[in-house]
């Protein structure tokens, strides 16, 4: 029996008076690559941040590999789990951010070693070996001792991906990871993500890179105004959009699809 890696049911989230997520139901199966597209403000990033509880959510449930994230439900009342437990849950979910967020006071290797030593409890020797393996995997073994300020945006993002992968997560979340990159650096990051997808990692990707979405995603989900509007294969959604909102959203990508 294969539990879906991610199962979100009826997720609601509001910031003050603004309702950002209005009942999201989403399932991601093991090994699937799901792309989340939509305009800014549609709630895509918020949804991602709720999955690893960087944001608390108000209603609904999010399960990662069958485990309820962030809360404990007892007799119909939900309570926030202790920080210790949440931290452990987060360790099984990898996240890559738009602004890389590498730790500037550590080298590329150091960024990866931190999680391996402090969260997984590896020794320094083991952690260093593992970290180098992951840096090699993203093509940056020669940058082991480089500090983030010495790396290009694309290189920093690849280190960030390695940092997330090193924790051996069940699910990888990508939040517009190429949006802050100069165009010529986007390719190297997408290549790493494509490679990752091929190895069977379960990925939930928020992106504007429509070509990447079409080529790599198994399924595409379109969000608007905090709701899930359309869902389907890349071909279905991108070539034959049904809803008006999706059609007008895709207008701005004219010329991307030949």
């Amino acid at each position: 029996m294969d539990t879906p890696i991610l199962q979100a049911a009826g997720v609601h989230k509001r910031f003050g008076t603004l309702e950002v997520l209005r009942g999201i139901d989403l399932t991601v199966r093991r090994g699937e690559v799901v792309a989340l597209i939509g305009a800014s403000g549609s709630g895509k990033t918020t949804l991602l941040r709720c999955i690893n509880l960087l944001e608390e959510y108000d209603h609904g449930q999010i399960f990662v590999d069958g485990e309820l994230i962030g809360y404990r439900e007892q007799d119909g009342r939900r309570t926030l789990l202790p920080e210790r437990v949440i931290a452990r849950q987060r360790a099984h979910i990898g996240m890559v951010f738009q602004s890389f967020n590498l730790f500037p006071h550590m080298t590329a290797e150091g960024n990866i070693v931190l999680g391996l030593m402090r969260v997984q409890g590896k020794s320094r020797r083991e952690a260093t070996d593992t970290a180098r393996g992951w840096l090699d995997r993203v093509g940056l073994l020669d940058k082991v001792a480089a500090y983030p300020y010495q790396l290009s945006g694309g290189q920093q993002q690849r280190v960030a991906i390695a940092r997330a992968l090193a924790m051996e997560p069940k699910l990888m979340l990508f939040d517009e990871v190429t949006s802050a990159l100069d165009p010529e650096l986007v390719g190297e990051v997408l290549l790493v993500m494509q490679d990752l997808a091929r190895t069977g990692m379960t990925m939930l990707v928020v992106s504007h890179e429509m070509l990447f979405v079409r080529e790599v995603a198994h399924r595409v989900v379109f969000m608007d105004g905090g709701r899930l509007i359309e869902e389907g294969s890349p071909h279905e959604l991108l070539m034959n959009p049904r809803s008006e909102r999706l059609k007008s959203f895709l207008m701005r990508f004219q010329g991307v699809f030949r």
């Binding site: 690893n52 931290a87 987060r90 979910i93 990898g94 730790f103 500037p104 006071h105 402090r118």
Partner: protein, 216 residues
């Protein structure tokens, strides 16, 4: 005249030693209070935050001399006899703590929230995030104002001369009283303060430069 000054020089040096001793103790205590206070302001529960806020705003609004006299005359009333040097340590440390709290708070607050997010995302807990990600970066921001505070504290140590502690300034006055050599003696004392404080500033600048790459 220069001969008399030369003979009096050791007295000034002894005063300087007291100044340095007092300053060092106050800097350490003040910094400790500062870190506790700064963390409380950034991460503490509402009541703690309020208490620290009141502490900081009150102490920064009164002259340090008033605090010194209040402690010096006040502690014996509640039965605590710690003498003038002790009163100086208590008053100056409490004062330094208020300044340092603001400095630490500012340093921590200047670390982008995204750093905390990234640390959370790899599964680090609160104290781990603080220890490995937030504080190492904050310390580098805290350094310049911290150095300024240290210099202000060395200057502030001169106030304990008014409650009878023989640090550099009182030692200078004693020499002046003995020898009647006024301007050269005060100038010499001024130079000694200058050397100490300028030295602290330069040391700070050196350390800052090593970690300059961490400015955003």
């Amino acid at each position: 005249m220069w001969h008399e000054l030369w003979i009096a020089f050791p007295a000034l040096l002894r005063g300087l030693a007291v100044t340095l001793e007092l300053s060092a103790v106050v800097i350490v205590l003040g910094s400790t209070i500062g870190y506790l206070g700064g963390l409380s302001l950034e991460y503490g529960p509402k009541p703690l935050w309020a208490a620290v806020r009141v502490y900081v705003d009150t102490l920064r609004g009164i002259p340090v001399l008033v605090l010194l006299f209040a402690v010096f005359y006040g502690l014996p009333i509640v039965g605590i006899q710690i003498g003038a040097f002790g009163a100086g340590v208590v008053a100056l440390s409490v004062f330094a703590g208020a300044h340092m709290t603001e400095v630490v708070r500012g340093g921590i607050a200047s670390i982008p929230r995204t750093q905390g997010d990234a640390a959370k995302a790899i599964g680090l807990q609160f104290w781990e995030r603080l220890r490995w990600v937030i504080l190492p970066q904050a310390v580098r921001r805290i350094l310049p104002p911290w150095v300024n505070t240290a210099v202000e504290l060395v200057k502030g140590s001169s106030l304990v001369s008014l409650i009878g502690v023989v640090e550099l300034l009182l030692a200078t006055q004693q020499v002046v009283g003995r020898t009647f050599i006024v301007i050269p003696t005060y100038t010499l004392a001024g130079l000694m303060y200058f050397v100490v404080n300028y030295g602290i500033s330069r040391l700070g600048a050196l350390v800052e430069r090593r970690y300059a790459f961490l400015s955003y």
